[in-house]
């Protein structure tokens, strides 16, 4: 536990240094996106990594937060209210959609998440109260009360706080009854059920928390970009980006999503900027090639292989790492 907290402290310190020391807007934007995707990847990791139900619809929970923010602000209410409102909406959506679908196995579950997300997307696009396909532009007002800032520093501080809170929550998850039950269900659902673990209720709990985390990221995103529409928040493409971030680093590991976000944001987005924008598809070529190589050579993800390697060197059987690293 201690090394994880030290690593987290070092990341927060480096992030704070960047927030107040760096003036380059493009670099700061990358740092913000990196933290946002690390949070979203971790949120996905709760249900898809630890619990093993691979979701391709996670963006709808991100959208709950973003739309909560847009609705609050455009109706003259405080964006701070969007944090509980978005979280409640996301948890409710997770429970309503998870109750029937979480019992589905393998690809049938994954495609059900695509179906649910596509239905949500279509409904949002036809609801005038939700801004239809055009979405919302948030009115500009700066200050902590309006949760809007003229420069990027405070946004990075907020993103760092959210990232740190989610990492600490995940450390707690790994040590909690919920965390052990999820890994047991993932490793062998029949055996877990046989010792009395109720699959549906524990997975629903994980799904709801996972949705709440994604919703918090959504609020922060909306306050940062001040623009919310379906393609930038709830579309299938965002869901897939989240899932890929979750898996590239290492599925079901504490640091996997952060490493996945680093690969996605720095290697794919950052390099593409250097090569002349993402319009030419270079970012996709680089990112796609990285995913292919990792899937073929390091199928447990970057962090997953490091964990495996450490365990092999120690030669000891660490039950926690065994469940997170390799069991399928």
């Amino acid at each position: 536990m201690k090394p994880h907290l030290i690593a987290l402290g070092a990341i927060v310190a480096a992030g704070l240094a960047a927030a107040f020391g760096v003036r380059d807007a493009v670099a700061l934007d990358l740092v913000f996106t990196l933290l946002l995707y690390a949070v979203l990847g971790q949120s996905w990791n709760w249900i898809s990594g630890y619990a093993g139900n691979i979701s391709f619809g996670h963006a709808i929970f991100f959208g709950c937060g973003a739309y909560a923010s847009a609705l609050m602000v455009t109706h003259g209410l405080s964006p701070w209210l969007a944090i509980p409102a978005g979280a409640l909406a996301a948890a409710a959506l997770a429970i309503v959609t998870g109750f029937p679908t979480l019992a589905l196995r393998g690809h049938y579950f994954s495609i059900a998440t695509i179906a649910v997300a596509a239905i949500v997307d279509a409904l949002v696009r036809t609801q005038p109260a939700l801004g239809r396909a055009t979405g919302f532009e948030l009115p500009i007002a700066t200050g902590w009360a309006a949760l809007q800032f003229a420069d990027k520093g405070p946004y990075i501080v907020l993103a760092l706080a959210l990232f740190a809170a989610v990492q600490v929550a995940t450390i707690a998850l790994e040590r909690s009854r919920l965390g052990y039950y999820l890994r047991a269900l993932r490793a062998n659902h029949a055996a877990a059920a046989a010792v009395g673990i109720d699959e549906r209720s524990w997975k629903l709990l994980a799904f709801a928390w996972s949705a709440v985390i994604a919703s918090c990221a959504g609020v922060l995103y909306a306050q940062y970009t001040l623009f919310v529409d379906p393609p930038s928040t709830i579309a299938l493409g965002i869901s897939i980006d989240i899932a890929l971030v979750g898996v590239v680093g290492g599925i079901g590991t504490l640091w996997g999503p952060a490493v996945g976000a680093l690969v996605y944001v720095v290697l794919a987005k950052g390099v593409a900027l250097e090569l002349g924008g993402s319009g030419k598809g270079y970012d996709l070529v680089i990112y796609g090639a990285i995913i292919c190589v990792i899937a073929a050579l390091r199928p447990h993800g970057i962090v997953g292989s490091i964990v495996d390697g450490l365990r092999r060197r120690r030669g000891a059987l660490d039950l926690g790492a065994a469940a997170t690293g390799g069991a399928a």
Binding site: T101, I119, T126, L244, G281, Y287, A296, A328
Partner: protein, 288 residues
């Protein structure tokens, strides 16, 4: 009378749309049935086949003349992709195949965008561009050709899997990989062949779709997305299930688009999927 004609028009439209979906879905379900892999890059294989068809059409080999060449090229492409890439994914955890094929999707889209740009490209002067009219109904000739192609392809694939020695070996591998190995079946060879045939099927689909659809780097995405639902709805691995699922999805989409609104046309499709898998978790014609 008018309402009846509208209904008949929608019915015909729905069946033809469904057959186009079946065309794309059969290759996907074959690969899944044999090796439990959902090839998420299936739509990008389709996109590649469409660009290949377009290239041949620009050289003077129109979509239908180019079809056999595209099918052979895609068959070889599928075998190479299996040998070099998918085979490695199979030795990892189950999620490795999901994300490996997703990586392939991202890579192929990126390459297409880098090489061909994002422009929509159509085959020059495609044949069958007219409209067929009978009994007050109108259907495009291209969609009839595509529908016939889907039926022929599905029938060929079904006959191959049911009645040939190799098809029997594929079913054996699908049923029990280890038992099949013990019976002297080379599982790697059968897997590679199945992946190649799956790619060849989507090659034929791509060539036929160039009759009426433009190609662009993400051209395969909407077709593949529907194909995943079609295949899961029918039951992963079932060829006849894919055909039934595709017809159901086609009809739901066309009727939904007309009676609800075009923006909501996919809602009944996805709702039907959710209802079917909640009642029958293995899909309509799938085995447990």
């Amino acid at each position: 009378m008018e309402a009846l004609t509208t209904f008949a028009q929608l019915l015909v439209g729905g069946v033809l749309t469904g057959l186009v979906f079946a065309l794309v879905a059969v290759g996907l379900t074959l690969v899944y049935g044999v090796m439990d892999v959902v090839n998420f890059a299936h739509g990008e294989f389709l996109m590649l086949a469409m660009y290949a068809t377009l290239g041949l059409a620009l050289l003077g080999l129109g979509p239908l003349l180019g079809l056999p060449l595209v099918v052979i090229a895609m068959f070889l492409f599928g075998i190479v992709v299996y040998r070099v890439f998918v085979r490695r994914l199979l030795s990892g955890p189950p999620e490795a195949t999901v994300f490996g094929t997703f990586g392939l999707l991202v890579l192929m889209q990126g390459l297409a965008q880098a090489i061909f740009s994002s422009d929509f490209l159509s085959a020059p002067n495609p044949p069958f561009s007219g409209t067929l009219r009978f009994a007050g109904l109108a259907v495009s000739q291209a969609s009839v050709v595509e529908g016939c192609g889907a039926l022929i392809l599905t029938a060929l694939l079904f006959a191959f899997v049911e009645y040939t020695e190799t098809g029997r070996a594929m079913r054996a591998v699908a049923e029990d990989r280890i038992a099949a190995t013990l019976m002297g079946i080379d599982v790697q060879r059968i897997n590679g062949l199945a992946f190649g045939i799956g790619a060849a099927c989507v090659g034929a689909a791509g060539a036929l779709l160039m009759l009426s659809y433009p190609v662009y780097p993400t051209a395969g995405v909407p077709f593949a997305l529907t194909a995943f639902v079609v295949v899961a709805l029918g039951g992963f691995g079932s060829i006849s299930g894919a055909l039934v699922g595709a017809l159901l999805v086609g009809l739901l989409e066309v009727f939904g688009g007309f009676y609800l609104s075009p923006e909501l046309k996919l809602v009944p499709v996805y709702l039907a999927y959710l209802i079917v898998v909640l009642l029958r978790p293995q899909g309509l014609l799938g085995r447990r």
